[in-house]
Symmetry: C2
Subunit: 326 residues, 2 copies
């Protein structure tokens, strides 16, 4: 697939009036921050723009206020332009796809590798750490005015998708963009407090509860933590709130492979796997018909939690033994 | 006090041969990263440079290898130049001060407000987020060559002193400097893994142990966690390893003031206090003859842990009540 230029896409936007934005479902910081920034910038140009959502904005992003975010029907029947934001495929906005394809012109802005092209105009740059970086470039090409709200939204997009500048996708360009946002009113302290210091207390307790029983093996080069339905109940949490536990486990000295086993139902165990440096967890996930990347993968095991633990420990041991013989 | 220019300081360094560097005691990422970067850059110019330490380099910084770091006596009796790095006063290198003042020329490079000038040449910039930023500027002024080791050392200095770009001291300049380091071989992923994913497992367990019994009060706008000698013993940890627990507590939604009570001895309770947004914990610390900043302060209470808890909860309640009446 050949990309269009941001100039071509900018021209389309400048000549349009009614624009609908489609960030992906299970909305995250990059999808929401990118959509809000683009919406506000286009609104400043006098366009009639709305962000169409299919789920509630998570609490840690609710400080990014945007009066033009809607759940449900769009306010007009057909848009001049419909833009998919941070959506690698149509499945990422499945419930809203009819409204998207009703757009006279469709655009896709993304930093994920896409499986198939679905839009008229495409700008997909997998070297961008976040779609927020692409939105920044687009607004620059269009000579849009930046302001504090736009800067905060783009910063939210970038900090969340780069693990606050720690992940390997972070580049020189990431830091140059953020440096520039300071000139237009960025309040990074406020954004960081909202995003990183807004954790439900029950979630902190669940994390403590799970980590105190961590199991280390392979001479401390692997670690396993599990979360049962009972632990969720006792701590008044949901399985979604286990996010972050595996990162704390991986942050332990010497741990190369970390595993989190989530008891979804009695014999349905969802397994998340992470590698720190040299490990390959995609290999492990594949053994159980799962998938993912070398450093982050997952699978589901249909067996008891105890058996799933044994299987995963065995597979990790095998993988790490292989590594040590290279 | 009037600063010298970095050009003046650079000229002194260029005309010297034997140079000793003095990072502060209880060495941290900024002091060590800054010293290593300056040492390596001056070595590349053919100078005979050593970093004098008075304590062991912490494990999370040991990846910054420098063959020129020494504990104990310097390798020559009197240096052409002695440089205090990240030391707000002489007390920060008390044990090594005789060697420092034996230098023919003394220099102070720092980003802390200093109480008294102690060096011949001074460059103190409290707007710098880290002394690492000042070292970067100095090396640029001196036209020093950068390389991957220097870039990694400066990144370590900057990421640790800015809470990985989250603290309010982070500026546009911080991000511009980091962006430039990518051009000279920075491997930020490696540095971040070493610094942030190198936590002792016992420490993670201690943290989990302490946090599971957190106490919330003032309608959830304050939180308290305590660590006893018994908890340290059970988890095979030291009191130094409680660092970070208060940040996790503060990260909880709605918590404005966080307190960590550390039972140093039976009736000696060290109290750490943090405020998130509007709270003033310096006020609270002062009530118990402690001190600190508005957002981070501490004090010591000579009473039982239970009584100390009651006193601190009372003082926090009073402070938060005051806030709500403004």
């Amino acid at each position: 697939m050949e990309n269009n230029t941001l100039k071509e896409i900018g021209s389309q936007l400048l000549s349009a009036n009614r624009i609908l934005l489609f960030p992906h479902m299970q909305i995250d910081g990059d999808a929401y921050g990118s959509a809000v920034a683009l919406c506000l910038a286009l609104r400043n140009l006098g366009k009639e723009v709305y962000v169409l959502l299919e789920d509630e904005v998570p609490a840690f992003l609710s400080f990014l206020t945007c009066d033009f975010c809607l759940e449900g029907e769009p306010p007009f029947d057909s848009a001049d332009i419909a833009i998919a934001i941070d959506c690698s495929d149509v499945g990422r906005f499945e419930k809203r796809k009819d409204w998207y394809f009703k757009g006279n012109v469709t655009i896709c802005l993304d930093h994920h590798m896409t499986t198939g092209v679905f839009a008229d105009f495409n700008y997909i740059d997998s070297s961008a750490a976040a779609t927020g970086e692409i939105i920044y470039d687009l607004l620059k090409v269009m000579n849009c005015d930046f302001n504090a709200e736009i800067a905060n939204a783009l910063y939210a997009a970038i900090t969340t998708d780069t693990g606050n500048f720690r992940y390997s996708n972070t580049t020189k360009r990431t830091h140059l963009i953020v440096a520039d946002l300071y000139d237009t009113g960025l309040d990074h302290t406020k954004v960081c407090v909202e995003i990183y210091e807004n954790v439900r207390r029950e979630r902190v307790k669940l994390s403590a509860d799970a980590l105190k029983d961590m199991q280390l093996f392979c001479d401390g080069s692997a670690g396993l933590v599990s979360v049962t339905q009972k632990m969720l109940e006792v701590n008044h949490t949901s399985m979604e709130e286990t996010e972050g536990i595996i990162d704390t486990l991986k942050s332990i000295e010497g741990i190369e492979i970390a595993a989190l086993l989530k008891e979804k139902e009695k014999e349905i165990i969802k397994v998340s796997l992470r590698a720190k440096s040299y490990g390959n967890v995609a290999n492990i996930a594949q053994k159980f018909h799962g998938g993912g990347h070398i450093k982050a993968a997952g699978c589901t095991i249909h067996d008891s939690l105890d058996n799933a633990k044994k299987m995963i420990i065995g597979a990790i041991e095998e993988e790490l033994m292989k590594g040590s013989s290279i």
